[in-house]
């Protein structure tokens, strides 16, 4: 009885094992999946039904350049104080340093000698025009904020600048070192007001002997970041 049951179970096992290999069953082919058609492409394993986003790096508005114009007073040594006009371009390298270029022009007045002696003028009108350019660096020494009343705070910085360039005055071009200090207040995120004090130093021999001439300038400028 027991051996008959064992034969029944064994034959059922063999039958079940054999059925799993039935060659006529088409829902599970014995040879595995048919080879993909030879189209030259790798077979698509998963085709995700996800809409791809167009990945385009956004162009962020970078504002490291600053350009503006200034007006102020320039004291040409021995030749009075006069109005000066100029333009300034700066590139902000990081929050501490910037590179800047300035160019300005002014019409110098009469020297005391010319005024007192009453003789012939030392310089012609074109020689009396004082024109300069300077290229250099600036350091934002004291960044901070300025408070207007209780509700408004404007970003500001006090900076020091040093540059080299040339001055055309009294019929010649002279190498000029320009040192200055200034304050910048941002009245808008993109618009700044500058108050600058600069000293243009060069050698000059227009009054006989060669001497170092200091030409101080105080200017107010409006500049935009772009």
């Amino acid at each position: 009885m027991e051996s008959r049951l064992r034969i029944l179970l064994l034959s059922a096992f063999v039958l079940a094992a054999g059925c799993s290999h039935m060659p006529w069953r088409d829902d599970e082919p014995a040879e595995g999946p048919p080879p993909p058609e030879q189209t030259g492409e790798t077979p698509v394993v998963i085709d995700p039904q996800v809409e791809r986003r167009e990945v385009k790096p956004a162009k962020i508005d970078t504002e490291n350049w600053e350009a503006g114009a200034y007006v102020g007073s320039l004291s040409v040594e021995d030749f009075e104080v006069n109005v000066v006009y100029g333009a300034r371009v700066a590139y902000h390298i990081n929050e501490d340093f910037f590179a800047e270029g300035i160019a300005g022009t002014s019409d110098a007045g009469l020297s005391s000698f010319e005024r007192l002696s009453g003789g012939a003028p030392l310089l012609t009108d074109s020689e009396r025009q004082f024109t300069y350019y300077s290229l250099g660096f600036g350091w934002n020494a004291l960044p901070g904020e300025i408070f207007l009343g209780g509700k408004r705070a404007l970003n500001s910085a006090v900076y020091l600048t040093l540059g080299g360039g040339a001055t055309r005055f009294a019929g010649g071009d002279r190498f000029t070192l320009t040192a200055g200090a200034g304050a910048r207040v941002l009245i808008k995120d993109w618009l700044a007001v500058h108050l600058d004090m600069r000293d243009h130093v060069h050698e000059i021999d227009v009054l006989g002997s060669n001497k170092t001439s200091h030409n101080f300038e105080a200017t107010l400028s409006l500049a935009a970041f772009f």
């Binding site: 990945v55 508005d61 504002e63 490291n64 990081n94 929050e95 960044p143 040339a166 995120d189 935009a224």
Partner: protein
């Protein structure tokens, strides 16, 4: 007239300041994003935006980004924190700043140098274009400012950088150009003269930060004069340049 010029300037400034750019919304992936009142490390932090919240990037100034959160509050965020935010595609925000690795592989370079040319002060502006990592063509304009004469020099030359992978790169240069010397009027009248010249030089350029490099060079010039002897001049200059 002055009022007209001022109006024109304001319009010009407004136009360049509002030149268009895309708006970008990013998602905070760090625990929080710190918003400062200004683009500098000393400005106080007035808001924080939590992880998962979205902010709009308005503009960038040096290493700082101005952003606006969902409630309309604005502030400045440092580049390091911005690099940890996610763009809409789910990836980290890619800030492609020029880095140390780009120095030496760059194509264009412009700079300003100040120094001494044969006893006269010299101010030079130059531009260079690299044909490959080692060899570049260079064009320079110099303003000579001496006690007895002024002048201009224009040169065209090539520079060779043997090791473009170093942070401080020595280079050799050779070239030719023209020099114009105008003696100063207060001395005996001598005519203005224009001559051809040639130079050979050595120098170094060093990576500073971002796009900036420091440059120093020494050159020996031979000026081919009309006189019996050629004139030889020595020049040294230091300055800065940026590459792009």
């Amino acid at each position: 007239m002055a009022r007209l010029a001022a109006c024109g300037l304001l319009i010009f400034l407004g136009a360049i300041a509002t030149a268009g750019a895309d708006e970008l919304d990013v998602t905070v992936a760090d625990p929080y994003l710190e918003l400062r009142t200004g683009p500098g490390r000393g400005f106080p932090i007035v808001h924080v935006v939590e992880r998962g919240a979205s902010v709009r990037v308005l503009k960038r100034r040096t290493d700082w980004f101005q952003v606006q959160d969902a409630d309309g509050r604005e502030g400045w965020v440092h580049r390091k924190q911005m690099a940890e935010t996610l763009v809409p595609a789910g990836e980290r925000m890619d800030i492609d700043d020029p880095a140390r690795e780009d120095f030496g592989a760059h194509r264009r370079e412009v700079g300003l140098l100040i120094g001494d040319y044969g006893g006269a002060n010299v101010v030079t502006a130059y531009g260079a274009y690299a044909f490959n990592e080692h060899l570049a063509g260079e064009f320079a304009l110099s303003h000579l400012l001496g006690n007895f004469s002024d002048g201009q020099v224009a040169t065209l030359g090539v520079t060779h950088v043997p090791r473009p992978d170093w942070r401080i790169q020595p280079f050799l240069s050779i070239g030719t150009g023209m020099i114009r010397i105008k003696p100063k009027g207060t001395l005996v009248q001598t005519p203005e003269r224009t001559d051809q010249l040639a130079y050979a030089g050595i120098g170094v350029r060093a990576y500073l930060a971002r796009r900036f490099i420091l440059r120093a060079e020494y050159k020996e010039y031979v000026v081919f004069t009309d006189r019996d002897e050629n004139e030889e001049d020595i020049e040294w200059k230091v300055g800065f340049a940026f590459f792009f």
